[in-house]
């Protein structure tokens, strides 16, 4: 199992670095004369487990409560072999207030799309907005304090499935806290995840200047 942990981490790092450096156009650059409406695709791809990364540099992956029985069994097995010293403590705190990462991201992305230059509709849209969550979890975002981190890709497709726009982004929560405080206040986990989701949706949809792809450092 430790081998699987390391393999998964290496894949995550490889994917993260492969995303670094390219200039990305903002969502607001989409031609609004041609494409006026957008529908949000309800199916969101997301990993079934979150990433835990603390300042010791050890990474673990826990299960999502929405991962199903197989995911739960796998997640528990990986968790049992975890190398990160704080993983079990965080997992215990997070399980008291589980989050639905897809629901969080959908809520905030739709809210951002409503503000965007395009009109959000449910049917007969000119375009479809797809969201794929690469990874999510907690990492050191303020010194040793842990904050929520989410990395995702937004894609805009035309009616014929043509790729119109795509952007990779990651964001962290404003709130960051120690593991000890998180154990005493487990509600901080959903609060931090909500803040990170809101920040990420804003970066994906409402940032209006070109940006460079970068790796989600707190999860590395």
């Amino acid at each position: 199992m430790p081998f699987l942990n390391k393999l998964g981490y290496l894949i995550f790092v490889s994917v993260s670095f492969s995303l670094v450096g390219c200039t990305q156009q903002p969502f607001t650059s989409v031609d609004r004369n041609t494409y006026k409406t957008v529908a949000f695709k309800p199916e969101i791809k997301a990993p079934e487990h979150y990433v835990y990364h603390d300042t010791t540099g050890k990474v673990s992956r826990g299960m999502s409560v929405y991962g199903g029985l197989i995911g739960a069994a796998l997640g528990a097995a990986i968790g049992a072999a975890s190398e990160a010293p704080g993983f079990h403590r965080f997992d215990a705190a997070a399980s008291k207030n589980p989050i639905d990462i897809r629901l969080l991201m959908r809520r905030h992305t739709e809210a951002a799309l409503k503000i965007s230059p395009m009109r959000l509709v449910s049917t007969d849209a000119d375009t479809t907005f797809e969201l794929q969550i690469h990874s999510y979890g907690v990492g050191p975002v303020n010194g040793r304090d842990l904050g929520a981190v989410i990395a995702a890709r937004g894609t805009l497709l035309g009616c014929d499935g043509q790729l119109l726009w795509s952007k990779d982004e990651w964001a962290t929560s404003n709130t960051a806290t120690s593991l000890e405080n998180l154990e005493q206040n487990p509600k901080l986990w959903p609060q931090m995840a909500n803040e990170a989701a809101e920040a990420l949706a804003k970066k994906l949809v409402l940032y209006s200047e070109p940006s460079k792809r970068s790796a989600a450092e707190p999860l590395m």
């Binding site: 607001t28 965007s116 230059p117 975002v141 303020n142 404003n174 200047e209």
Partner: protein
Amino acid sequence: MGAIGCAAFKPRPEGVSWQVNYSVQPIYPKSFEIVAGGPLSLTKEELTDAWKKKAALVANGRRFKATPLVVHNTLSMQGMGYPLQTRTVTGTITLTEKIDRTEDGNLPCEQASTGSRIDL
């Protein structure tokens, strides 16, 4: 080039340490996320003051609202292959007065000004 020009030639506020770096990201429709960052030797107060000066500069005399400022100390691996410890102050301002837009609907590059009104 327009975007590069905006990023490269944004004016610095007066009286701010050369160690302070800024990042200004326009957010549709009329907000700006401003990050003031520097080495850990800069205090939270110094960076907060630098942030406020930049916010006034970005607002260019227009009234605005600001979110509570977030201070984070971060360890970045992007500095020449060795870890860099930095402190950042981040906040978003939203202009509350009508602003002019360019033909493509984007916000114009900020201009230096004095006498900005700040509602922090």
